[in-house]
Symmetry: C2
Subunit: 421 residues, 2 copies
């Protein structure tokens, strides 16, 4: 077999795409495993072929670093079709996960080729654009998910959303598995909920946002996005992993006209991301979402019901919100150039007592979404919503939650009910 | 927390969707973990919410079987939007993989609700349709992938394809990471390669097929599919996992007019499927592909360069090719009704010496694709192609390959070169 995919003296150029892998070889040496991974993900196969040429060998990927199980591979950008994310992933995150010569393989990070970065749109709004639309200048945005996840009628859904908005919540979103079911049809829900949004805006005197879930087969998803525009919604929400990259890219393309803030839910990501030795890291999925151009992305909470270690979540936050990201361990550097930053969304088992930790870990440029942590409040949705906003206000003022709660009864109840970490 | 998602006396109805999970609880009992998985994937969340009602509780999923780590959960079909695969997966294969209350979670099989099955198109051609188009009546189809994976120009690509066709190969396909790169643009490649296909058909007097890879952002993918129709191609190939379900469903919808045989490559599947305790099984991905309606699907080889145990690959073969599938262990039954069977594709490290094993394991209704196992033949692509077809002819005649090779020198060379298993 052709062994030429290793060159430890190679220095990647800015136009190379670089992948950081964690490889567990299967009864062969690390060098052989790394060589085979580089081959299969670029121009090689399992045996020498007569159709190979010297010119093509030069297009091969190069293993330029092996440290323990951490392997770094550089890919000439000619291997990829600019702006075609599925094609890029079929190379660097394709067959290699199933090769017998590895026991396990994880794509830990990608440093995108500078020529490829230019071929993607990135977010239309980004953090700055979101703050302009929502008119929330500095603090985290307060959000909730209508609960129960499924089962409410369109009118009841709108009512729960209203109760949250008048409790000083900025954003209400659909749950990830609500689209258009018999008990709650998309169009009716949008009309009813936006009616309630308008009412809440008039009463509260501040901007109120609704993030409707448009997850569907592509044409239906586009029809729903257009329906949102016609009905003056500001946002659209998509389950990016179950929808997939081909449709997401096209939605972003269409968004040049639609001009909706795109909220990305990551339902299903942990099937890929959770095993530390196999699959694709959330960091890579976050990179892809930023490149394609969602404006908001769920990245984890550190403190809630979902897995995701502190260091990992903070790194993902940096990756999607910074212009320059530094190399650290097997995490690669990135220069995002003109690609706008994505606002991080924290969601999953959150309640008001977690707000100071969230802000300490991730800063102000986040959406804090509590579902059960609002609708589960002993005094109901509006009180729960107020408690979350109070926790955010206290944190922005640098006041301890317990102290702030002395004069804010909704927060006091929430802390009594769920604690304060 | 609401504990009502368990009822071990429950008998699922035909309209329920049933999931078979493997759950590893994280410091709680199996009952608690199963209850939480059923809740999170249907109507529950981590805490009681005031907006819950008795009517909605009745829509919850039901854990009806717990045997060791195997858990079966029934979902009322009202939870799902008919025909919306991303929505269905955001429920049954969404947040649950990331919950802290499980160490790991695997979706092992799905028995689709009979009402939901009707809402998907399934394959347009299926096995019978493919045999009609290709005019190959009984034997496995012989296929190859143009190699090297990447780097050949459009003209060289067409030349390699021609060499394989005149070596008695039926089908030539693009590699999974070839789409439209600077060294080989899609349109030129299609025109050149189909020209060579026509030449090979005239010379050989049998049907020759080309499967061009149209993997791309949705609109571009559709443009390429239409280009194929205009140029009299019979097939289109898609990397279904990197493209994603939303775009794949819409491609299938459009295929009512395009009428292309859809070949599904599964690049990247093993990031989800390989860990036996976590993620989503290939069986489930195969189910989804059949429901949506691809005509051919890569399912593994048992014997090649890719992982996938014998029992697993055979079960996947049954699942996509049979009308009725029986329940076995934690694999669920299925009645596919009017959804046509999908032809299984074996690809990845194959060579002629593996053909008898493949046919023994998987039957005649398969495409046998060898890439390196053809272009790596000592006497070149045409000889390699002949060797594969000879191995198929020998197997159909029930003649041992060594015996057949006595009068077929290409096969003899292949067996000498790579062996015979």
């Amino acid at each position: 077999m052709y062994k030429g995919f290793i060159n430890l003296n190679y220095k990647p150029s800015a136009n190379d795409l670089v992948c950081s892998f964690i490889i567990e070889p299967n009864n062969i040496s690390m060098e052989e495993a790394a060589n085979a991974v580089a081959g299969e993900s670029s121009v090689g196969t399992w045996t020498n072929v007569v159709t190979m040429s010297d010119r093509i060998k030069k297009m091969g990927a190069v293993v330029f670093s092996i440290e323990g199980n951490n392997v770094k591979i550089a890919y000439p950008h000619e291997l990829f079709e600019p702006g075609n994310m599925p094609q890029i992933l079929s190379s660097i995150a394709g067959n290699i996960f199933g090769m017998k010569i590895v026991k396990s393989l994880r794509l830990e990070d990608v440093r995108w080729s500078s020529s490829l970065i230019k071929s993607f749109r990135g977010p239309m709004f980004g953090i700055k654009g979101i703050r302009e639309v929502t008119k929330v200048e500095k603090r985290p945005l307060c959000g909730t998910i209508v609960k129960p996840k499924l089962g409410l009628s369109d009118k009841d859904h709108a009512k729960v959303a209203y109760q949250a908005w008048v409790g000083d919540i900025d954003i209400v979103k659909d749950d990830e598995n609500l689209s258009s079911q018999s008990f709650n049809k998309f169009e009716k829900r949008i009309v009813e909920t936006l009616k309630m949004r308008n009412k809440a805006e008039r009463e509260e005197g501040e901007r109120k946002m609704y993030m409707p879930n448009i997850t569907a087969p592509f044409n239906e998803m586009m029809r729903r996005a257009e329906f949102l525009v016609e009905n003056n919604a500001d946002y659209a929400m998509v389950d990016i992993l179950t929808v997939g990259w081909s449709a997401l890219q096209e939605l972003r393309e269409a968004n040049e006209d639609l001009k909706l803030i795109l909220h990305a839910h990551r339902a299903g990501h942990a099937a890929l991301t959770r095993n530390p030795k196999h699959g694709i890291s959330m960091l890579v999925l976050a990179d892809i979402a930023r490149l394609i151009g969602v404006d908001q992305l769920h990245i984890g909470t550190v403190v809630g019901k979902m897995e995701g270690g502190k260091e990992e979540v903070i790194r993902i936050g940096e990756e999607i919100e910074s212009k320059i990201v530094e190399q650290k361990g097997n995490k690669l550097s990135e220069n995002w150039k003109s690609i706008k930053p994505v606002m991080a969304v924290c969601s999953g088992g959150l309640h008001p007592g977690m707000v100071p930790s969230l802000v300490k870990n991730l800063g102000n440029d986040i959406v804090i979404q509590a579902g059960g942590g609002i609708h589960g409040h002993r005094n109901g949705t509006t009180a729960g919503a107020k408690a979350l906003r109070q926790a955010v206000e206290a944190t922005m003022q640098g006041v301890d939650l317990r102290e702030f709660a002395e004069k804010h009864k909704e927060l006091k109840t929430a802390l009594d009910q769920w604690g304060y970490i």
